[in-house]
Structures are given as structure tokens and as C-alpha cells.
């Protein structure tokens, strides 16, 4: 699984595919005010991106991938 759900933290790793988006959204609904760790994420499918944009969680860590980070900062800040 490209997303690991901890207590109040969703850990994104590698490439997060389209199929994760629904689960991610449900998790956010069940766990409001959770945070997201994107450090080891290489790419996330646009569906996940829009979930993040809609939910606006706190970003615990930005991606190490510079290109992805620039994109996500412009989308989520």
C-alpha cells in the first residue's frame, strides 16, 4: 500500500495510485484534523491530489522530490 495510515497521520510512499483516493477521503472523514507525511512520496494521482486540496490537512512533511514539492506547495498552500 502506498499510503500507510497511522493514528493521526497518513504516510504517503512512492507512487500513490488512483485507487487510493476513495480510502484516503474516507479516512479523512473518520479522522478529521489528521496530518499527512509526504516525504517519501514520488507522485500521487490527481484524484488524491484533489482529496488533499479539498480536505486541506496539515502537511507534516513535504516531499523530498523537489518537483513534486513545488507542485504540492502551490496546490495546498
Amino acid at each position: 500500500m502506498a499510503i500507510t495510515y497511522q493514528k493521526k497521520l497518513a504516510l504517503f510512499r512512492d507512487t500513490v495510485g488512483v485507487e487510493e483516493a476513495e480510502g484516503l477521503l474516507e479516512w479523512f472523514i473518520k479522522n478529521p484534523k489528521s496530518r499527512v507525511d509526504l516525504a517519501d512520496c514520488q507522485h500521487l494521482h490527481a484524484a488524491n491530489l484533489q482529496v488533499l486540496m479539498a480536505v486541506k490537512p496539515v502537511i507534516a512533511a513535504w516531499p523530498k522530490d523537489a518537483n513534486l514539492r513545488v507542485w504540492l506547495e502551490s496546490a495546498l498552500n
Binding site: V18, A21, P32, H43, A46, A47, A54, S74
Partner: protein, 894 residues
């Protein structure tokens, strides 16, 4: 594999072949515009085709090739051999891709990206310096195309200010240094709602955009609460600013260009001051002073006061940032008063400057029409956009000069298009005026009245008139038009009535196995019909019903005719032109001769001569062998040829002709020919002939020694001043399909090799002979004649029986002896021996048998299994009465 892809692959091969041919022709005649245009067309079309699929490597290389050829065509780049070489390399690569796609069934296998880049680069290199200017043009025109399909609108870019000022300034500088002002593109990408279900990842797609300098992602509609959010309904819009070429974007988004809006931006949009706005009022005087200097054209003064002010200001202030921009604009765009004024104004108001240029300002108005109120409810956005595009196109058409002879046709057509799309849009009330305008335009032979109508009914005005009245109209109509439009689709789709003739493709692709199967069946039928004559004779002799026997024979004649026609028809299906083999030669000859430092003109004749697929395919290798030999050993280097008084370029002719049921192929060169003395000596040294034979052999016979097995060895190749490399291989390959090969050579003048092959090899005609109460078949194409030789004229020379036939000494061999049957040949009542004269390696040999029988058509089945190794037979066949006929191979027998 889907049919479209299959079609593409088949056509791609044809095109590649055509491209190779044209390149060869161009080499001989570099100035031919006809060939050049044709070559360009082929590459161009192939590129277009590849664009229908996801083969970026192929498209990239072909695109580069097309650009290069375009440059050559326009005279921007001269023709060179280098050019042909690189293009050939590139086409080889494309060929490879085609092969791979075919074997993978569609997937473009491994990573050829590097090669594609390298090849494209090597092609573009040849376009050289001039290419840059051209690239600029292409860019501009593509950008233009984008604009025309998606009306330009100055995007709002407030967040652009988030880019560090230094970076923006560098970009601004860079953009102004470029050839065009369009080097900065604003790209707005709005994926469709349902794109996730189509396996698309717009985020991934947008991340592929090269040279992004700024990006932002925003929702199309405000986000709903998490609980109501649909994760799989795409609600994103991606904005980017890039310095990439429009072609690259077009390539990247070629499947969804309509989801893309590209607006070339004037670099000035980067000029956005930022910083701490405190302290603005203090400098009020400066603004007045600066504007006064600007108005009076005192640019030096303006620069000077701006510089002084900047030195006095803290660099973190909004003011300082604005001044830095002002100074930069004064430096790089001294003539852009509008920009300078706007910047000064922004210093006064402490708000971001709003960058609109006159063109973009009008564009904004123009685009406001179609999407919004124009046709309201009944049109989808796509319809509205298309409607606007069509109107725009007709406007452009009507705006053209009125000078062409076919002007009235063009006006009619434009009016018809306008009428059609208005009808479709439900705007029929505009049509009478359109008709009137058309009539007037035709009378006056000018477009103006139609343009006037267009202006009066253009989107801008229309949107004003579509008010409550139009809404009412839609209300009053029995069916909302929207519904009607939706219903049109299924009606069209399934409305094909039985009487609507189906126009299918005229060419069928059939698997070769199916044809082979058909061929096998007709072969069996040919054989089966052969049983009827047996039946007829049995009816006569055994049952004594002559009448029935005769009737069977009549019926047999009918069936025989049909079977033969059927066989012919199926043969025709299998026929292939010799060009299938010939087409490789231009390239082969070119490459080989250049490697050898020789000049060779290749002449191909009779490429359309057809033969059975198997024959044509079987010919490929022997022919290549012969051509190689000719190039290696026949044709001399230009120096040698000149010394011998020949033209420096050698000539190699390959000619195919059809004669009755055989195909003849002649390969001739004007090289140095074969020296019979050297051949004799070599053959003697190799132990192929003895001393006596060496003395006795005629020159022609000596030359034929090159066909002898074991003649060719590496040693021979190196020092033989003629040919003979693997000619035995050629001979056996040709004989395998019942062909013959012969060679004539004249020392110093050249060599001619003749191949003769049957048109088809599926059904063989054999003569049945009888010996010692057994029957055997002999292929008819080897039989010269059948004679009855009286014992009295048989002479024994050197223990061998011979006779003289038509002035020629013919050795006689008894079939019984050849097959080790311990019986004497039977003679007839006149003491004559039945002798079958056959041609073996251009010599006539008489084979003595007991009696001749009829000739029959059979399907020859090669000997397989244990008897496969049995020499002297070429195969077996089933006869009409069910018996098995062994077919002899006289070549091996004698």
C-alpha cells in the same frame, strides 16, 4: 491487434519502402523536385499516420525527417550524401519500431527514446543554423493554431508574484532576448470530469510539461464538504507558465488538445512588484515627476530619478521592487510606454499592475460570446466552441481577397456553412437575411455583404438578442431542442436500414494458411478429377457400356475446365510481383558498392512480373547472392574501368520476364567477366576435374564449373578473378523450386546469369512412364521429347550407349539400370526403345523406359521420414485410381 493498427503497419511498410526508393532516386538525381516532393509527401504522411497512435519515438524521428526534407525542398539545405545516409538510418530505425510493434501486437516495446532523440538530432543538425529561425516560425504558427481553436484570453496570474523577483527578471530578460515574444506560454489545463475513469492522471500529465517556471492548481468549482466530495469526479484546473515550445505541449496533450488553453504571454506580465507597501505616500512627488518625464519623452531623466529613488529606498519595499522593474523595462523595452506607465501607476496605487495589451483586450471580449449566453441551453460547451470556431473560420474566409476565379463558389460554400450551423443552433430567424446577403455578395462579386451579415449576427450581437424572447421560443417548442439533439444520435447510429448498401473495404486481408488450405483442396480436386478417365475406360472395357464411358468423358471435360480455372484463380491470389524481392536491391547495391568504392548503376526491369509467393520468396536469397557476387567480383573499381576504356560507373541489370508458365530472371553486369582459364586451373587444383577434362573443356563449360559443388572456398573468394562464390548454393536453391540457372560470361565484357522458374509450384505436371511393370513420374518441365529409338541406331561409345538425335549426341541410360532394377528394357514390336529425352544441367540425356503413358497433374509431396534421404526421387503423389506414383528427379538420377 486492432484493424487500424494493422492498416497502419501495412501502410508504414509500404511507405518505408517508398521512402527508400525515393532516396535512391534522389541520389541519382538530386535536383529532381518531383522525387523530392514525393519523398517529402511520404515522410510527411507516415508521420501523420504515426501521430494517430502512441508512438512518440517514431513520430519524433519522422518529424525531424520531415523538417529536414522540407528544408531541402525549400532550398534552405543542400542535398548531400550524408543526408541520404542519415535519413536511411532514421528509416531503418522506424522499420525496427514497426517490426517491434507488429510482434508486440501494439505495444511499442523497449526504450528507444535515446535512439529516437539521437536520430532526430542528427537529422536536425543538417538543417543547421537556419533551423532556428524556422523553429521560431513553426512555434509561432502552432501557437496561432492553438489560439484559433481556443480563443486567447489574458489569464489572471496573481500568484505569479510568488515567484522570486530575481527569477522573474531573469525570465523576462531571457524572453526578450529570444526571437519572438511568444516564448512564454500560459497553459491552462482543464481535464474532463470523467477523466479518472479513462485511466488518465492529469497530475502526472501536467508534470510532464517541460520547462515550467510557475504552476498552480485550483478547483474548478469550490470544494464541497468532505462528506459530499466525490474523489473520482475531477474538479481540477492546472495552470502553468512554461518556456517550452508549443510543439512540445501539443505533442504532450495531443489526445486532449481541447482541454488545453495556451496563451502566449508578453514577457511584461512578469513585472509584478512585491514587498512591504509601507511608506508609499512619502514618495507621491516621485510619481508625478516620473509621469511628467515619461510624457515629455525624457527617458534619461526618468531613469535617473528612478535610480536615485531606488538608492534611497529599502530594497524590501514594494516601491523598490517596482522601481527595479521600471528600470529593467526602461532598459529592455524602452519603447513600451504603456508598460512603463502602468508600472509607475502601480507604484502610486500599491496594487499589482493589470497587464492587458490592446490585442488581448479585444480577445477577451471576443471570447466572452460563444461559451456564455449565445445559444444558451441547447448547446453543450463543446458545441458552442465549435460553433464559434466555424463562425471564425467563415469570417476568415470572407476576409480573403476577392480576386480568385472561384470566388462565387467560395462565397456560396461559406454561406452554406453559416446557414448549416445556424440551423443546427436553432437560429433560423437569421437565415433569410443570410440568403439576401449571399445574393447581394454574388451579384457584386465581393464578400462584403456576407461579412456585414456575419457582423450583424456574430456572437457578440447574438448574445444580446438571445434574451427572454429566445428562452420563450425554446419553452414553446414541443420538445426542448436539447433533447432533440440527444435523440439525433441514437437515431443516426442505429438508423441504418436494410436497404442502405454497405460499402465495405475493397481489399481483404486473408491469412496465408487459409490460402494454402484452399490451394491444398483444389490440388486434391485436380487429382480426384483424374479418376474420371479411369472410370470411363472401365465403363467401356470392363462393363462394356460405351455410351456411359463417353458421357463420363464429357462430364470430365467440364469438371476439368472448372478445376483448371479454379486452380488458376487461386494461383492468382498467391501471385506476388517480383518487386517484393527487387525492392531490396537499390539499398543493397548502394551500400555494398559504396563500401567497395565502386560506382554502380542499378537497372531494374519487369518488377511487376508475378509469380507464386513461394517462388518469389525462394528467389530472394539466391538473387542477393548473385548480386553480391556481381558487385564483389564482377564490376571493377572506377579506375580499373577507366583504364579498360569503360565508363567509370558499372551497370547491373536485373530483368524479370514471364514466358508461358515460367518466370525468367536475368542478372547481367558489364564487369570483367569470368576467365575460363583461371576457373579450369582452380577446378583442377581442387580436384574437381582431371587433366584430360581440363584440356577438353570448352570455355563455356569451364565457366559453368562455378556451379560445381565444392568449388567455392574462402581461398577462392580471395584470389579468384571472376565469380564462383557459393554458386552451387544458388543452383541448389533454384533447383529446389524446380528452377534452372545458367551462366554466360565474356572476359572483360561482363557476365549474364539466367534463372528460370515455374510460375507456381503447387501443381506439377508429370509424364508417367513404365519400366519393369512399375510406373514412375517425370516432371514435364524436364522432358524435352519422347522418341522411339531403334536398337539399330544405338552406338556404344566408351562403354556408354549413345544415339544421335537432331544432330546431337545423346547418351542413353536405362531407367532400370539407374534404379538398379535387374531387367532389360523392353522394346516394341518394331524393336524400338521408348526413350525419354530430359534436360539435365543444360545437357540432353535419353532415359530408356519400357513405355510412355499419359501426363497428369499431381500435387507433389516431398519425401519425408525414412525415405526422405532416398536420392533420385523428388517426391510422391496420389493418383486418381488411388495408387501412389513415385516422381523421379533426373538431376540426381543421372
Amino acid at each position: 491487434m486492432n484493424p487500424l493498427l494493422e492498416q497502419f503497419l501495412a501502410e508504414a511498410r509500404d511507405f518505408l519502402q517508398g521512402i527508400a526508393e525515393k532516396l535512391m532516386q534522389l541520389e541519382n538525381d538530386p535536383n529532381s523536385t518531383v522525387v523530392m516532393n514525393e519523398l517529402f509527401r511520404l515522410v510527411h504522411t507516415l508521420k501523420g499516420n504515426s501521430g494517430l497512435f502512441e508512438f512518440p519515438e517514431m513520430t519524433r524521428v519522422l518529424h525531424a525527417g520531415e523538417d529536414l526534407l522540407d528544408a531541402v525542398r525549400d532550398g534552405r539545405v543542400g542535398y548531400s550524401q550524408e543526408l541520404t545516409d542519415r535519413l536511411l538510418d532514421a528509416m531503418d530505425f522506424v522499420n525496427l519500431l514497426v517490426d517491434e510493434i507488429e510482434s508486440n501486437g501494439g505495444g511499442n516495446g523497449s526504450d528507444h527514446g535515446q535512439n529516437a532523440l539521437r536520430l532526430a538530432e542528427s537529422l536536425r543538425q543538417l538543417i543547421g543554423v537556419t533551423a532556428i529561425a524556422d523553429g521560431g516560425n513553426a512555434k509561432a504558427s502552432v501557437a496561432e493554431a492553438f489560439q484559433s481553436s481556443s480563443a486567447p484570453n489574458m489569464p489572471e496570474l496573481p500568484r505569479l508574484a510568488e515567484l522570486p523577483e530575481q527569477q522573474r527578471m531573469a525570465l523576462y530578460r531571457q524572453a526578450l532576448a529570444g526571437d519572438t515574444l511568444d516564448t512564454l506560454l500560459f497553459v491552462e489545463y482543464t481535464p474532463e470530469d470523467e477523466c479518472f475513469f479513462k485511466g488518465e492522471d492529469p497530475f502526472h500529465q501536467v508534470r510532464q510539461i517541460p520547462d515550467i517556471v510557475w504552476q498552480s492548481v485550483r478547483p474548478r468549482e469550490l470544494w464541497t464538504a468532505s462528506a459530499e466530495l466525490d474523489a473520482y469526479h475531477c474538479n481540477l484546473i492546472f495552470d502553468t507558465l512554461t518556456t517550452a515550445a508549443p510543439e512540445e505541449l501539443y505533442e504532450l496533450f495531443r489526445y486532449t488538445p481541447e482541454q488545453l488553453r495556451i496563451v502566449p504571454l508578453p514577457p511584461i506580465v512578469l513585472a509584478l512588484p512585491h514587498g512591504d507597501p509601507n511608506g508609499g505616500a512619502v514618495y507621491g512627488d516621485f510619481v508625478t515627476d516620473a509621469l511628467r518625464r515619461l510624457d515629455s519623452g525624457d527617458m534619461a531623466g526618468l531613469e535617473s530619478v528612478a535610480r536615485t529613488m531606488l538608492e534611497l529606498s529599502s530594497p524590501d519595499l514594494w516601491l523598490a521592487s517596482g522601481l527595479r522593474w521600471l528600470l529593467l523595462v526602461l532598459e529592455l523595452e524602452p519603447g513600451n510606454r504603456h508598460a512603463q506607465r502602468t508600472l509607475i501607476g502601480s507604484l502610486a496605487s500599491l496594487t499589482l499592475p493589470v497587464w492587458t495589451t490592446p490585442e488581448t483586450a479585444t480577445a477577451v471580449e471576443a471570447v466572452a460570446g460563444p461559451g456564455s449566453g449565445l445559444v444558451g441551453e441547447m448547446f453543450s460547451d463543446a458545441d458552442a466552441r465549435a460553433f464559434a470556431d466555424i463562425l471564425q473560420a467563415q469570417r476568415e474566409i470572407l476576409g480573403l481577397a476577392d480576386s480568385d476565379a472561384w470566388l462565387s463558389g467560395r462565397l456560396n460554400a461559406a454561406a452554406a456553412a453559416l446557414a448549416a450551423c445556424h440551423r443546427r443552433a436553432g437560429r433560423i430567424e437569421a437565415l433569410p437575411a443570410l440568403e439576401a446577403a449571399l445574393a447581394e455578395a454574388l451579384d457584386n462579386v465581393e464578400a462584403a455583404p456576407l461579412l456585414a451579415w456575419l457582423d450583424a449576427h456574430a456572437p457578440l450581437d447574438l448574445s444580446a438578442t438571445v434574451g427572454p424572447e429566445a428562452a420563450e421560443e425554446a419553452e414553446a417548442a414541443p420538445t426542448p431542442i436539447r433533447n432533440a439533439l440527444i435523440d439525433v444520435e441514437p437515431d443516426n447510429k442505429f438508423g441504418r436500414r436494410a436497404e442502405d448498401a454497405y460499402v465495405g473495404p475493397k481489399t481483404l486481408k486473408v491469412d496465408q494458411d487459409k490460402i494454402d488450405n484452399l490451394m491444398g483442396l483444389i490440388g486434391e480436386m485436380v487429382v480426384a478429377k483424374n479418376s474420371l478417365p479411369y472410370l470411363a475406360s472401365r465403363a467401356e472395357t470392363q462393363y462394356g457400356v460405351r455410351e456411359l464411358g463417353r458421357e463420363i468423358k464429357t462430364q470430365y471435360a467440364v469438371i476439368n475446365r472448372i478445376a483448371e480455372e479454379m486452380q488458376d484463380a487461386i494461383m492468382q491470389v498467391r501471385m506476388m510481383p517480383m518487386s517484393f524481392v527487387f525492392q531490396r536491391f537499390p539499398r543493397l547495391v548502394r551500400d555494398t558498392s559504396r563500401k567497395l568504392g565502386k560506382e554502380v548503376n542499378l537497372v531494374l526491369e519487369g518488377e511487376n512480373t508475378e509469380a507464386d509467393k513461394n517462388i518469389v520468396e525462394a528467389l530472394a536469397d539466391p538473387l542477393i547472392h548473385i548480386v553480391r557476387n556481381s558487385l564483389d567480383h564482377g564490376i571493377e573499381t572506377p579506375e580499373v574501368r577507366r583504364a579498360a576504356g569503360k565508363p567509370p560507373a558499372g551497370r547491373l541489370t536485373i530483368r524479370a520476364t514471364q514466358e508461358a508458365d515460367r518466370v525468367h530472371i536475368e542478372i547481367s553486369d558489364d564487369g570483367k567477366g569470368i576467365d575460363p582459364i583461371i576457373i579450369k586451373r582452380k577446378a583442377y587444383e581442387k580436384g574437381i576435374i582431371d587433366e584430360v577434362t581440363m584440356e577438353r573443356l570448352s570455355d563455356q563449360e569451364a565457366v559453368n564449373l562455378v556451379f560445381a559443388a565444392g568449388f567455392s572456398t574462402a581461398e577462392v573468394i580471395s584470389d579468384l578473378s571472376g565469380r564462383g562464390v557459393g554458386m552451387d548454393v544458388v543452383r541448389s536453391a533454384v533447383e529446389k523450386v524446380n528452377g534452372t540457372v545458367s551462366l554466360e560470361s565474356e572476359l572483360g565484357k561482363g557476365t549474364l546469369i539466367r534463372l528460370s522458374l515455374p510460375l507456381s509450384m503447387a501443381v506439377t505436371s508429370v509424364m508417367i512412364v513404365e519400366s519393369d511393370k512399375q510406373i514412375f513420374g517425370v516432371p514435364m518441365d524436364m522432358v524435352v521429347e519422347t522418341v522411339r529409338v531403334s536398337r539399330s541406331v544405338i552406338r556404344t561409345i566408351k562403354k556408354r550407349q549413345t544415339t544421335v538425335l537432331r544432330g546431337r549426341i545423346v547418351p542413353l541410360l536405362a531407367l532400370n539400370d539407374l534404379l538398379a532394377i535387374g531387367a532389360e528394357p523392353l522394346s516394341n514390336d518394331d524393336d524400338e526403345l521408348a526413350t525419354l529425352v530430359v534436360r539435365v544441367h543444360e545437357e540432353h540425356v535419353g532415359i530408356v523406359v519400357d513405355d510412355f503413358r499419359e501426363t497428369v497433374d499431381i500435387i507433389l509431396k516431398p519425401m519425408a521420414g525414412i525415405i526422405g534421404g532416398l536420392g533420385g526421387y523428388s517426391g510422391s503423389a496420389l493418383l486418381g485410381d488411388g495408387s501412389v506414383l513415385m516422381v523421379l528427379n533426373p538431376r540426381e538420377l543421372v
